[in-house]
């Protein structure tokens, strides 16, 4: 059943969109990351214009994060103070990001930058996860291997403006979450992702937050960053397709519930390796597309 998406101005199959939302939701349920980093490239694969794919993914993300945060909040696993500091950084970052996005669109390089960002981020991340996952798997086979230290002191802990975060049991510089939020805000605007897959490792390894607090806090701030990005994209670039976002959301919510149940039955390091392979596959597909000789050397775009 085809549906005409009013902003994307393409007709797509409703069930393909529901299934895509479901698959991404399933992944987010299994792995605990938002899945936006897979959603945007897949939307582009099925023919949604990249600019619309990015902005509508951000819109979908708002709903998906609300749903996720509520679940974590009920278990008391959200550090609101940390979330707020991340959020201020995220807000500033998304302002810069949306402006940058509009600029890139005017000079005709937005698709290049979106694709490049995805290849670089997914490639690095997939490789790191694969190495880490394989190592843990091997370490477990060798009994008596030394455990890694939970909290290490590095240069970032010497920064000024120290603040106490009770829920996370941390006393660190506010500049850290502020900067991290800023970076994620830019990524969110340019790539339509919540940045969970960058944020979650950064919160654990860079900030040193307890793992149980991380997903809820990350999702909490993503709601607001994604909401800011959605509104700014709607105003500056007119690229938010609410119908597309809603369809993805419906599929996503169902997928997430199935995913969460599956996730609890599978083993952690096996999951991480599976995710790493998936992430790498998307990166490779995007990279191959970028280097392949295009069918048309010329492209025509309507300018406002």
């Amino acid at each position: 059943m085809e549906i005409y998406l009013p902003i994307a101005e393409v007709s797509l199959d409703v069930f393909v969109l529901l299934a895509l939302g479901g698959a991404v939701g399933f992944l987010s349920g299994v792995f605990g990351v938002g899945g936006g980093f897979l959603l945007t490239p897949f939307l582009i694969f099925i023919g949604v214009p990249p600019a619309v794919a990015v902005a509508s993914s951000a819109n979908q993300l708002v709903g998906a994060s609300v749903s996720g945060v509520l679940a974590h909040w009920r278990r008391g696993n959200v550090d609101f103070k940390m979330g707020l500091i991340l959020l201020i950084g995220g807000f500033l970052g998304s302002l810069l990001g949306v402006w940058l996005f509009g600029l890139l669109r005017r000079i005709g390089q937005v698709e290049l930058v979106i694709n490049l960002c995805f290849v670089l981020l997914l490639g690095t991340l997939g490789a790191l996860m694969l190495i880490e996952g394989t190592r843990t798997l091997m370490r477990r086979r060798k009994l008596g291997a030394p455990r890694r230290k939970l909290h290490q002191h590095i240069w970032v802990h010497g920064l000024p403006l120290k603040m106490r975060f009770r829920r996370s049991k941390l006393y660190i510089s506010a500049l850290l979450p502020l900067g991290l939020g800023f970076l994620i805000g830019i990524l969110s605007a340019i790539m339509g992702i919540g940045g969970g897959f960058v944020m979650v490792p950064a919160m654990i390894y860079l900030l040193g937050m307890p793992t149980v607090i991380v997903p809820g806090t990350s999702l909490f701030q993503i709601i607001f960053v994604a909401a800011t990005v959605t509104v700014l994209q709607a105003i500056n670039n007119r690229t938010v397709d609410a119908v597309l976002a809603l369809l993805l959301l419906i599929g996503g919510v169902l997928g997430a519930q199935i995913g969460t149940r599956m996730g609890s039955r599978l083993r952690g390091d096996q999951l991480r390796i599976m995710l790493a392979v998936l992430v790498l596959a998307v990166a490779v597909k995007l990279a191959v597309d970028m280097t392949a000789t295009p069918e048309q050397l010329y492209s025509a775009t309507v300018v406002q």
């Binding site: 549906i3 009013p6 509520l70 509104v231 976002a245 492209s299 775009t301």
Partner: protein, 244 residues
């Protein structure tokens, strides 16, 4: 439908003859509505002339600016490099004629009335086209032809006898919205002896049109509504699983 067209034709023929007009033509519909399942459509143009001659029909969509970019390989990846911005490009252009245009008229006439894709007057934002811009012009026309937005067809204007003619004007699914102009020319001895212009409106109708309009006119409010909808949907979704 055909009975109605025939009746209208007879009426027009009578009226045209009475007023001594060499050419009368009209469309079966002046409005095309694009709805959710729109997959392209066609509109019939019919008319009458006061004697033998050739008929050329040009359909032009609203004008807009188009940036044509050429990709170049930089460090292994293809990036948009050179750019030419064309101004006042018709968003849709199709031409149909009763006989091949070359046989019907001269290049001078074609150029004056912009009859045919080769005769479209295209301008760049920085002035008239230069020699080195030719590939960009060709690329623009090719891309639009590939998108089915530009087309040249011969023989789609059919004469029923000497004086009555009809043409089927087709529009693809991706047709841009706006006010179109349908120009009908009557050509005799290689010169245009009469012409008539009829408007045709193509617009989105229904829910999709309302969403598009809303997103365009009240962008900030649309953004907020989109966010609120997503939030409510996310909250609703978590309710059934509260105790899970």
């Amino acid at each position: 439908m055909s009975a109605r067209i025939l009746l209208s034709l007879l009426f027009m023929l009578a009226a045209g003859a009475a007023r001594g007009e060499p050419l009368v033509a009209d469309l079966t519909s002046h409005l095309i509505g694009i709805t959710g399942g729109f997959a392209g459509t066609s509109v019939v143009l019919f008319g009458a002339t006061d004697g033998p001659g050739d008929v050329v029909v040009v359909v032009r969509g609203p004008e807009h600016d188009v940036a044509v970019r050429r990709k170049r390989r930089v460090a292994g990846i293809w990036v948009n490099a050179k750019e030419a911005v064309f101004t006042g490009v018709p968003s849709f252009y199709s031409i149909a004629s009763s006989r091949p245009l070359d046989a019907v008229t001269t290049p001078a006439v074609r150029s004056f009335h912009q009859l045919g894709l080769d005769y479209l007057r295209l301008q760049l934002d920085r002035g008239p086209l230069r020699e080195e811009d030719t590939p960009f012009r060709e690329a623009l026309i090719q891309t639009q032809q590939h998108e089915k937005l530009f087309s040249e067809t011969v023989g789609r204007v059919d004469f029923l006898g000497d004086r009555l003619f009809r043409a089927s004007l087709s529009f693809p699914a991706n047709v841009p919205t706006g006010t179109y102009l349908v120009e009908v020319f009557l050509i005799r001895n290689k010169a245009v002896v009469s012409g008539q212009t009829t408007p045709l409106v193509i617009s989105k109708i229904g829910v999709d049109a309302e969403i598009y309009d809303f997103a365009d006119r009240r962008a900030a409010l649309y953004g907020l509504v989109a966010v609120a909808t997503a939030m409510v949907a996310g909250w609703l979704a978590s309710v059934p699983f509260r105790n899970a």
